[in-house]
């Protein structure tokens, strides 16, 4: 299956993140645009890893800002993984699958397939929980979760495919 046809059949994680941040947290536009210059795998590695504050002339504070973008991206990835695991055949856990994963890691943007209403509700719930955990207010968490659902709806049949997001274009 080619990337083109994949896009038509789902929505890219990065597109959802971009759309939600644009609507709900515009102050993080620079963060998202910056992240979009990397591949999905690179972004996830950066968001999961802890940055070492060893700059001798840094400000010297390791205080973390309550950013929405990392929470959102990581939650969507977790949801995508969960949904994918549910549908993937057990045999795909073999070495061929691993090889495919490794290849995909470098190039292909992660895709969320068209979701059912129940699945959308699941994702919405996951986002709300993660946002609450990250210290966002309930109202804000709900707004973001709604934004995610709206973004995911882009992949529903009949909607036009998203444009522009082709991954690690730097």
């Amino acid at each position: 299956m080619s990337a083109q046809s994949q896009q038509a059949a789902g929505v890219l994680v990065r597109d959802v993140v971009r759309a939600v941040v644009k609507d709900c947290v515009p102050e993080e536009a620079v963060v998202v645009e910056g992240l979009l210059r990397y591949s999905d795998a690179q972004v996830l590695a950066r968001l999961r890893g802890r940055r070492q504050g060893r700059d001798p002339l840094g400000f010297g504070l390791a205080e973390v800002a309550p950013l929405v973008t990392p929470v959102l991206w990581l939650t969507l990835e977790a949801a995508r993984q969960r949904l994918a695991d549910a549908v993937v055949d057990g045999a795909a856990h073999g070495s061929a699958s691993l090889w495919r994963r490794l290849l995909r890691r470098r190039s292909t943007p992660e895709l969320i397939p068209p979701l059912t209403r129940a699945q959308q509700a699941l994702v919405q719930r996951m986002v709300i929980e993660a946002a609450a955990e990250a210290g966002l207010s309930q109202q804000r968490a709900r707004r973001i979760a709604d934004g995610v659902v709206a973004g995911l709806a882009l992949s529903e049949p009949g909607r036009p495919p998203s444009g522009g997001a082709t991954g690690a274009a730097r």
Partner: protein, 996 residues
Amino acid sequence: MTTAASVRVRLDERIVGAGTNARFALLILLLVTSSGSMLLPVLDALHSGDFDGCTLAAGADPAHSTELPSLLRVTGQVLAFLPCVDRYAPYPPWWQILAGPAVVTAVAALTMAALPLWKQRAAHCVRLDRIPAGAEVAARVQELAAGRVTQVPRLFVVPGAATRSAAVFGTNGSPRLVLDGGLVASHATDPKTFDAVVLHELAHVANRDLTVTYGTVALWRTFIVVVIAPYLVWLGWERSLGIAGGHDRTPTSLIVRALALPAVTTAMMYFARADVLRSRELYADLTAHRWKAPLEHVWAAMPATVEHPRGPWSVTALLDRLRTHPRWEIRRDALDDPAPLFAVSAMLMFLTGVMAMLMGFDLSDYTSAHPAVLTGWLSEGIAAVPAAVATAATTATLWRATIRAAALGRRSPTGLRAGAWLGLGLIAGSLLSGQTTGDLWLPRRMWVLVLVLAAAVAFTCWTCQCARLATASWPGRTLRLPLALCLTVGWLLLAAWFGWWDNNAAQYAVGFWYDSAGMSQAIVHWFPGVGTVHPAAISVMAETVPALRIAAFRPLMPAATVAAWMTPLALWFAGTAGPGPGWLRPLGAAAGGGTTTDPTTARRWRVPGARRVTVSALIGGAVTVLGVAGVQVWLHTLHAGPGQRGGMYAFSYAIWSLWAITVGTAVAAATAAASARFRLLTALVAAGISALLGLAGTTVLISVDGCVQPLDVLNSSCAWRPAWQQLQPGNTFSLIAHSALLMAPVAAAVITAAAVLVRLARRAVRGSRTAPAPRPRVDLPRTETGDRLAGSAVLVVGVSVLAIVAVLTAGDARADLTPAGRTTAASEAAFQQTSGLPVLPASSQLRWQQVHAWYRLGGRYLLEHAINDADSMVTQLRSAMRNKQLYITPALMTGMRPVCQDIRNVASWEPSGYFQVPDPTAEKSWHQYGVTAGNGSQDCMRAVDEKDVKAFESSIIELLTARTNALDASNRVKAIINDPSDPVFNGRPTQPPQPL
């Protein structure tokens, strides 16, 4: 009345230089210099030669070559040793020795250039101008930077980092600012935090922190790869070779020290760098604060932490010292009161001491590979490098602490604690480098290390009191000029001290001392004629004079000893001539000692008057004159006749006069040290002027010796005979002048320490009674005449001091500029006489090795030639025998001349052309040969030339005795080698290395 708190706010942390650049310089220089000395053994391993052969032939032990007896064997035979090394194990050439530092510097420069490229790599961060949404953020940074930094940094963002932080990197000329994603996002949500963080980073740019910080980082990384790695590889290789070969006799202490060196260097690097960076952070905070950065907003958002009580040496406290950023509570408090930037840190002092000592040792290591080039001035120049950085680092810190105390009207630091830590650091550096220990774990003479501690404390106390004097009275609006003066003189003092310590005094700790019997013999011959004094006096002189002579004749010593007391005198004069401390005026009238609430503190800041110093100096001068007159009276009572006024008699006249001067300076110092304020400085100035007066008085008294009958010592008639001409032999008058100048500050420091101890003891005995009521301050009306008088007096003292220093330094110039390589046979003999040439107690195996090496590298050649020449002489003599009767004919005499010439050539290798035989019995015979054959051959040639048959006959008898000596020596050597099939007997003998 203005409160201390309000003054505190107005005391600008930039009032004098921070000294952090000096600390960075210390770090950088230490790395660069140790890159040379740590690579030297690696280089030596690549230049394998027969160095051990030369060491053995000299009668030393290669396994304990840094131990004193071995060092003395080698140094005492330097005329033979240097040519031997030059031939069999040439030292690496200069370009190779200097290649280490050069390569490290070059690679560090490349790393420095590559570091920003690595930090801004695309995988790590994104250029902000490539993100359309970043325009607003960039505009805000530009706005904040406008007018504050000359170079607006290029901007980058790390989108994956959620921290609200930022960092600058690159160089001062091309700064880069990288913002974390969290901070970029807070540009809209929390602009105050954004501004505070960005302004802090811009403050780093404005404070020019970038180049020096990342330069150190680059240098350190280079050092690990280029120096530490090969060094450890070499160490491992050498050890494993030694262990595998079963001949590893290296003492454990040396191995541990070799391993500890990189470890301690690393630890020091981290502690020292973190210390500097922490203060740079505070400076950046304060700069940003001045730019109205809302830093309080950032600190207000920080979670409250519970303070746990902890000691200064707890693990947490030590870990804190490794942090490059101070804890946020410290940063918050520093905005209100930048006390940490004015504090004297014990660890900083300690580290400065260790690094300076290691650097000095590293630098002397460079020349130890080429000892022949070393001159007095070169060794002083080498010592001046660690002295410069150590002075800059400590003086800046101590001045800052003093200035703060002055501004707040508090007690100023005494320098005692700082000096103790500095001294301990110096001692630690010395022990780590092995400079004072040789192959042992600890020095043989531990007490010598007290000299290090004492010197460090004296230096810091001097610096603190000079700073206090300047802050209390300097009329200028800034303290830059007195600080510069103090820095320069402090440098001079430390350079003179390091020169003396590295080249001479450290050896005393190793165990070296002068051979007093040899010294006595040398002194006896300085003054022609005979003459003696009490034997106890002779032995005291022989013990002390060499050490005093060595210290006093160091090239920088006259200038340094005089500057030690001329500096406070100049500061005092400048202060009393002006209208009071000018730099305090902008801070308000409350600042300074005058009107603080604590009267005892206030008194401490008051500048002393001239009277006490003047009176003390005059008393000291008078004591000296009386003392010298007393010496003359005493020597006069010995009733030495005109022929008995040489030798020890004349020398002791000079030395007793010197002690009279020293007693005078000590009395002057003691009288002045009774002062409650500026005790060290008043003692120094009084002792210095007293020494000048005493020297002048002594010179006059000796010059008119013979004019007052009860005071006659050297002359019986009255005439003006300049003292410097009468005491010219052995450079004795110069010794008095040099030593008088040296003893003035030394006596002042010792007396001050004693005065402080007495005061403390008295206070302890009396108990803590109520403090005495403050005396009302009486300011005598200043008169123009008084000012002019004081000015003239200071001018006269200054000019005479300059003249004396110039004359003394110029007088020593020739000796100080002569390289050690130009040692003459006479100076080597003098060294052997004053220092001794011990015969190492050796196992039979080591003795075999030594004698074998001696025989192999030139001994066999000399012995065989000596015996062959003697044999050919005997053959010729036999041919002239008739009926067992020797008939000396002109033909025989003419035929013998070339043989005598040959014998003379062989004998000329003894005693300094080639090594002494390491076996005492063989050496005795060989030395006997040298003396007898030398004389006999000369007599022989003279007799032939003068056709003197009788003289020829007696010369032949001498040469026949010499033949027996040579045979004895040869037989003894062969008996020790004890193996006729040894390869050393095969082939042609090797000629000893020709003198350089």
